[in-house]
């Protein structure tokens, strides 16, 4: 078993929180993890990405090779497209549709959706809205993690336990809210997968 995930977003959107949950869940499942992240200048509102690799064998490279990502998990729709050359032929894009516009020339949403629909059964998530429903817009990363959960190769319960651990210091309410967000994303994703 080997899963290669590209996590994508804009500096400050918190993709490393998603990475931390998956990393820990993978370790708990007895798997090997490598997760390369971006620190430094790009964290100031630039395009950021993390290469996350999970395997039951030894992993050598911290970076994912082109055409071998099983999943692009993006918290911003344009950023999902930036890493398409990494996507495996049968790989899947799971992305939030909430755009983050902090530069000139940002394409229209129709153009972006059109490109996304060219990929293999994409899961397009109105993450901010779902997070609000779950209780707080700040849980949108956990909505996205939930939406990607079926494609990560780790049991959902293990991922939830990892969320619990991550938010432990913040108290039971925050944990419950994030678990709720995770499940909302998961349900949404399953619904979309059956629809397509």
């Amino acid at each position: 078993m080997q899963i290669n995930i590209i996590l994508a977003g804009v500096g400050g959107q918190g993709i490393l929180t998603i990475a931390a949950v998956i990393d820990h869940a993978a370790l708990q499942s007895g798997l090997t993890v490598r997760q390369a992240e971006v620190h430094g200048m790009s964290q100031r509102g630039g395009a950021v990405q993390s290469h996350l690799r999970i395997s039951d064998k030894e992993i050598f490279s911290d970076l994912i090779a082109e055409g071998t990502a099983n999943l692009i998990l993006s918290v911003e729709p344009l950023e999902a497209l930036r890493y398409l050359p990494f996507l495996a032929p049968d790989g899947r894009v799971v992305t939030a549709t909430d755009s983050f516009i902090n530069m000139v020339g940002y394409p229209s949403m129709e153009q972006i959706l059109d490109e996304l629909h060219h990929t293999n059964h994409p899961v397009l998530v109105n993450a901010a809205e779902l997070a609000r429903e779950a209780g707080n817009i700040r849980t949108s990363n956990m909505v996205m993690l939930g939406a990607a959960a079926p494609f990560i190769g780790i049991a959902a319960e293990t991922q939830e336990a990892s969320i619990e651990r991550l938010f432990q210091a913040k108290g039971a309410d925050i944990i419950a809210m994030n678990i709720r967000a995770f499940r909302t994303g998961q349900a949404f994703s399953q619904l979309q997968a059956t629809a397509t």
Partner: protein
């Protein structure tokens, strides 16, 4: 269970477990997290470990050497360009040698993710004629730091540990081994080693030259250098992290070429000769400069060798499994191209950042001048070079804003304006300001004091607030031309007036723009218990 650690953190844990008494460092991507990890985790150690930030890499290095002189183990960390700043101390510490183990962890940044060049610190290792360790994985980093301290103490030489961005900023599970107690204080008088007057320096240098064979023998025996046997006529010589990409391709494509992994220098000659004698073609894969490819090719070339110098691998930038696969003749897979609608998303100053208000005021003032050059420096405020501000015109090395503005002023450029951060000012700006004052070079220095070293994640600065004013006074700035402004939108008119006046004045003036970094302020609010 294994701990999930960044490569940088694996170094830190290895050093703590290996019995360091202190770490000395100035923040710099991708090395910052080594020291930060020690700062956060030193509390659970039985013996105290000092870990506060140093003013710059040179002061850090010299303090680490002093701790080693006193018999204790010390770690000093920096990014690659930081070693330029510390180079004087580094090169000469190879001549004096050390007492307690001294490991210099230097993180290079090939592809220049957050740097102004991609210099390869292994060249410095060769230059200083010291052992260099270049581990390939997070676990290897942990183990190798401990090994490097032992090696340093047994050879009585500093050991350079080189890593690159990708390993520093990638996480993997790391297994911890037993901790070792700190060394006792033990400071022998040894002026014959540590007083580098020519008569001592010559003898010490000869000793270092005489040790080179021994260093090579260590490499020959090192667990860090090993052959992965294989078949076929093509072999790979893989250095440091390049080993990972070579093995990734070998595994993914089911290939069986022999790979000699090198993570301990100087080169183990016998191991290399054995690989060369059994293969017709050798791919040399190095992360960074083709340092050893060039050496192995020799001036007249070596027809067996492929690598960065003949274009088999790209000459610049970091390696990856794709570039290594192409170098081994494997076809590029068909991939989905990046859509044509894609646009770049460059980094920017945060919304609400004080630098934005500073640049707005400065741009208004400078637009009235025919010559509106602004010399700047390294930090978040460097982002002022980008749209919409386009406010600065240079960024070269730490502190160069003030000294370049001084030189330009000496050449006759009016006005001459420098923008520098609080941390960069204390790192390397103060001495340049003293030059300008002594030489009466008309120039205005704007210190963007956001109370932190922001770009690297908000580390404490060596001086800010009123201490910066005191430093400027002490250097000789006259009270009438030492001004403070608050970069806020509501102060715009006032700030423009102050800047206009000081920039127009034909002497050395300093304007300090004081407002805390919004990121640091938010962090303090979220976590008031944590030390700033």
């Amino acid at each position: 269970m294994k701990q999930l650690l960044l490569g940088a953190e694996a170094i830190a844990l290895g050093a703590l477990d290996g019995g360091i008494s202190g770490v000395y460092a100035y923040p710099g991507t991708p090395s910052t997290e080594i020291t930060e990890y020690i700062q956060k985790n030193r509390g659970d150690r039985e013996q105290a470990v000092r870990s506060a930030w140093s003013t710059n890499e040179k002061t850090a290095y010299e303090a680490a050497l002093g701790m080693s002189y006193a018999g204790k183990r010390s770690l000093v960390c920096m990014k690659h360009v930081g070693l330029n700043v510390a180079a004087d101390a580094f090169i000469n510490s190879a001549i004096t040698g050390v007492n307690g183990g001294l490991v210099v962890a230097v993180a290079d940044d090939p592809s220049m993710h957050s740097s102004q060049n991609e210099q390869d610190s292994r060249v410095y290792g060769k230059f200083a004629m010291l052992p260099v360790i270049e581990p390939a994985s997070q676990q290897e980093l942990y183990d190798a730091v401990r090994y490097a301290f032992d090696l340093s103490e047994s050879l009585k030489l500093p050991v350079l540990l080189r890593l690159t961005t990708r390993l520093a900023h990638s996480r993997a599970g790391v297994e911890e081994s037993a901790t070792r107690p700190q060394n006792p204080l033990n400071a022998p008088y040894a002026p014959e080693r540590f007083v580098l007057m020519p008569h001592n320096a010559r003898r010490q240098y000869n000793n270092l030259l005489g040790m080179q064979g021994q260093l090579e023998e260590h490499s020959e025996q090192s667990w860090l250098n090993r052959l992965i046997p294989g078949t076929g006529t093509t072999g790979v010589l893989a250095f440091g992290i390049a080993f990972n990409y070579v093995m990734e391709v070998r595994q993914a494509f089911g290939l069986d070429y022999p790979v000699l992994k090198i993570s301990h220098y100087p080169l183990p000659r016998k191991k290399i000769e054995a690989l060369f004698s059994s293969c017709d073609t050798i791919l040399v894969a190095e992360e960074g400069y083709p340092v050893y490819e060039e050496l192995l090719r020799g001036y007249f070339g070596h027809n067996k060798i492929k690598g960065r110098l003949d274009g088999t691998l790209p000459r610049a930038g970091e390696l990856n499994a794709d570039s290594v696969a192409r170098a081994l003749g494997l076809a590029k897979p068909e991939v989905i191209p990046v859509p044509a609608i894609m646009v770049n998303r460059p980094p920017e100053l945060c919304k609400g950042c004080g630098h934005r208000d500073l640049y707005e005021a400065l741009n208004t003032v400078m637009s009235a001048h025919e010559q509106h050059h602004v010399f700047s420096d390294i930090g978040c405020y460097t982002l002022g070079a980008l749209a919409p501000y386009n406010a600065i015109h240079t960024c070269v090395d730490m502190g160069a804003s003030i000294t370049m503005a001084k030189g330009a002023a000496d050449a006759g450029l009016r006005p001459a304006v420098a923008v520098i951060g609080d941390s960069t000012f204390t790192h390397s700006g103060m001495t340049g300001l003293l030059d300008a004052i002594n030489d009466r070079s008309p120039l205005t220095v704007i210190i963007a004091d956001n109370d932190t070293t922001a770009m690297t994640g908000g580390q404490n600065s060596s001086a800010n607030g009123s201490r910066l004013l005191d430093i400027c006074r002490g250097l000789g700035i006259k009270e009438a031309h030492l001004k403070t402004i608050i970069p806020l939108k509501s102060h715009l008119a006032e700030n423009i007036a102050v800047l206009r006046e000081e920039i127009a004045w034909d002497g050395v003036s300093v304007v300090i723009a004081q407002r805390e970094c919004i990121e640091t302020a938010a962090r303090k609010k979220r976590n008031p218990a944590a030390k700033a």
